[in-house]
């Protein structure tokens, strides 16, 4: 209907009030795009961190472990789609830290990973996660004279890549958030305060509780470890709880290393000692597997499961193997493994979407009230249209189309604003973190002065409305100028609180698209009732009086 297009376009371009509805829709869309994009980016960062931490697939049999795991690693090495695998022992322990009140020791409960650093680096981002590096000349110049990191011997820090496993002085790598003396700065880096509390200068004692292959708990065992370095996975729960030691040392402390296997029935040999019936194989509780880049984790998981079945069959057929691997270990992708961490954030994001739909209802209400007033005002025009032959549906379509165009414009403007903010969110955040520049205060003050002049002109002319609008503008701009002059910087996304040092800044286009569709639908819904009212206008009544 040509006349409907002509009139709805003309109404849109000749009236100011509907632009308020466009602005409301645009701001709603921008708000949702910004919040949802940041939350999606946050989830992506969590996922990326998770994959960096554990590879693509995890095979685990907690506490008791998987015996003959070396044979499983050999089979995995022959498996198509698997590029690397690394054995790990996961357990819990207590670390006696080198600080605390005099005469006391601070004991931290920790999650202990016994690792093979070389293969772990092939599967995960272990090398990149090692935090402290030997200072280069540039960094040395920026350090205080008493900063212990100046004296950091690179071979001590590099022990993170060997952990002195099976050496005289085994080493440990701590999560960067375990030590309370690691202060996170605004740029996201860490600094030991006081410098003497820098962990790589110290030793700790680790206590572990061994569990036999039969699941029986033995006496706790202790080991002394040099702290070689600290690591940052960028996932707070990991960085604040996990310590890493060598796999062999972990096996030794937990009695999971290879050793003699005695008769479980308690029979004695000729010398009166427990009868040895074979060899107890070394065990690992977890095998981390990395697949070919681009292959779906579910596909890698399937291939790993097939490899495990082969491993199980081989060991069962081996008469020398007295201890058999578990029939049903947990085989999970990294995403399944991180479900507890990711699911709440996903739920929060979905909850945000639901909450923001309430804002859409508000904007639909705004569209409805604006259109209602316009239909009331335009009832005579509607009568004219009916008099020249326009149908009720045609009149309905004028206002529906108007609402549709308004929603579409608002949605695209909102996407533009949202994308602009998300793209520059870190720059905006950094600017908010600094005191306001002098020019911004001057501009705001100048605008306030101009608004004051306009207020005076309006008062002289006796225009109450213009006087009120300009005086409110003066007050608002004055407050902005005052606020800017007092602003000394506010950090909202504090890296010492959040997991990541930068705010995610990628627009979630899929959800932005859904948001835009929602905005258009709600604009249409808001316009629908006034449009129906317009279609119901009685042309005789509308045209009877001037």
């Amino acid at each position: 209907m040509v006349y409907a297009s002509l009139l709805s376009n003309r109404y849109l371009t000749t009236r100011v009030i509907p632009l308020i509805a466009v602005l409301a829709v645009a701001l709603n869309v921008a708000l949702v795009v910004i919040v949802v994009s940041v939350m999606t980016g946050f989830l992506d960062m969590l996922r990326n961190s998770g994959r960096t931490l554990m590879g693509d697939v995890v095979v685990s049999h907690e506490i008791v472990g998987i015996p003959h795991y070396q044979r499983f690693l050999e089979i995995l090495a022959e498996t198509d789609g698997v590029t690397a695998a690394s054995p790990v022992i996961e357990t819990f322990g207590l670390v006696r830290m080198p600080y605390g009140r005099e005469g006391e020791s601070r004991v931290e409960p920790v999650q202990v990973w016994g690792i093979d650093p070389r293969t772990l680096a092939e599967v995960t981002g272990y090398t990149e996660a090692i935090y402290w590096k030997a200072p280069d000349p540039d960094r040395l110049a920026g350090m205080a004279e008493d900063d212990p990191r100046r004296e950091a011997a690179s071979d001590r820090l590099d022990e993170a890549m060997s952990l002195n496993d099976e050496g005289a002085a085994p080493a440990m790598v701590l999560g960067i958030e375990i030590s309370p003396f690691n202060r996170r700065t605004r740029d996201g880096s860490y600094r030991p305060e006081p410098p003497a509390a820098w962990m790589p200068l110290h030793d700790v004692t680790l206590s572990l509780v061994p569990v036999s292959s039969g699941g029986r708990i033995s006496e706790p065992r202790e080991g002394r470890f040099q702290i070689a370095n600290e690591f940052q996975s960028k996932v707070y729960q990991v960085d604040s709880q996990r310590v890493m030691i060598g796999l062999a040392e972990a096996q030794r402390l937990l009695r999971m290393a290879e050793g003699p296997l005695y008769d479980p029935n308690g029979e004695l040999d000729e010398d009166g000692r427990p009868k040895r019936i074979g060899t107890s194989p070394a065990r690992a509780t977890t095998i981390l597997v990395r697949g070919v880049d681009g292959m779906a984790p579910a596909e890698i998981k399937m291939r790993v499961a097939t490899a495990y079945d082969r491993f199980l069959a081989e060991v069962r057929d081996d008469p020398e193997a007295k201890v058999k691997p578990p029939s049903f270990p947990d085989i999970q992708t990294w995403e399944e493994r991180l479900r507890d961490l990711i699911a709440p954030v996903e739920k929060e994001r979905d909850l945000m979407n639901v909450l923001f739909s309430i804002i859409y209802i508000v904007s639909a209400g705004l569209v409805l009230s604006i259109f209602w007033a316009i239909v009331h005002e335009k009832s005579r025009d509607i009568g004219i249209l009916r008099a020249v032959g326009a149908s009720r549906l045609g009149v309905l379509w004028i206002f529906l189309r108007w609402g549709l165009v308004l929603g579409v414009i608002g949605a695209f403007v909102g996407l533009g604003i949202g994308a602009l903010v998300v793209d520059n969110i870190n720059a905006i955040h950094d600017a908010m973190g600094d005191p306001a520049p002098g020019w911004s205060v001057a501009v705001a003050a100048a605008l306030a002065a101009a608004a004051l002049a306009a207020t005076i002109v309006a008062a002289v002319r006796g225009s109450l409305m213009h006087g009120l609008v300009w005086s409110l503008t003066t007050v608002l701009l004055g407050l902005v100028a005052f606020g800017l002059s007092r602003h000394e910087g506010a950090v909202m996304w504090d890296p010492s609180v959040y997991y990541f040092d930068r705010i995610p800044s990628r627009v979630d286009l899929w959800r932005a698209g859904l948001t835009m569709i929602g905005a258009v639908v709600f604009s249409l819904l808001g316009a629908a009732i006034p449009a129906a009212k317009a279609a119901d206008v009685d042309p005789v009544r509308a045209l009877r009086y001037e």
Partner: protein, 239 residues
């Protein structure tokens, strides 16, 4: 002028009754009004304020309906009460043209667009590109004939009362209707401008346009071929 006695009626009202409901009160306006308009005839309907002149005009034009089962309006013998909504819209768009006392132009549209408006109704965007220039040319010709060639791009608020009424008449004639229904077309104009508007209607009448004009001014009614009187909702005199 037409010879009304020989030509069969183009448009006729037969015993039309109309009652308005004002809250709980029923206000009868027409009590069985009947009239006939022949092709090319100029008919004046006179009556005092509130006599039902405008109501009769609206019912003749299909903008309003007579009370159900109480009289009917026929166009070329067919009762418009039997028209569906689409046919009634088409009847208002193609068969009749309305001119109102207060012009009733759309303020957002230019003079040319206002005049084109009935031509736009019923057009679909797909065919619009081909039809657009023909419609614009037709509306421009009409406005030029009415002395408004220099006002095509102006908005109604920029025109005088007489100019606005000429635009309204051009709009009413856009789809070449058979009958023009004019409700006090000079009622809001000074006598000189009113006279110009009546001259313009007379010119269109000479070209064969049928006109039903409602007025309460006898000197204006004299311009018509025939004059009817409406008193208390009935046609009481036919001069």
């Amino acid at each position: 002028m037409s010879d009304g006695s020989r030509t069969p009626p183009l448009l006729e009202a037969v015993e039309v009754r109309k009652t308005y409901q004002l809250g709980a009160t029923e206000v009868p306006v027409l009590h069985g009004a009947s009239l006939e308009v022949r092709g090319g005839e100029w008919l004046s309907v006179m009556g005092s304020s509130g006599s039902g002149k405008s109501t009769l005009l609206h019912i003749l034009g299909g903008l309003d309906r007579a009370d159900r089962g109480r009289g009917e309006v026929r166009f070329e013998g067919a009762s418009i009460a039997r028209f569906g909504n689409r046919d009634l819209d088409r009847y208002r768009n193609r068969t009749v043209g309305f001119v109102f006392q207060f012009y009733h132009l759309l303020p957002e549209l230019s003079v040319l667009e206002n005049a084109m408006l009935p031509g736009l109704v019923g057009r679909v965007p797909f065919a619009w590109r081909q039809e657009r220039s023909a419609l614009m040319s037709q509306a421009s010709d009409l406005l030029e004939r009415f002395g408004l060639a220099h006002r095509l791009r102006h908005r109604p608020r920029e025109l005088s009362g007489g100019e606005r009424q000429r635009v309204a008449i051009a709009r009413a004639l856009m789809n070449r209707p058979r009958v023009l229904l004019a409700d006090e077309p000079t009622g809001n104009l000074d006598s000189r401008t009113g006279g110009e508007i009546l001259d313009l209607l007379a010119e269109e009448h000479r070209r064969g346009l049928g006109i039903v004009m409602v007025t309460h001014d006898a000197s204006i009614a004299e311009r018509a071929d025939r004059t009817l009187w409406l008193r208390d909702g009935r046609v009481v005199e036919d001069s």
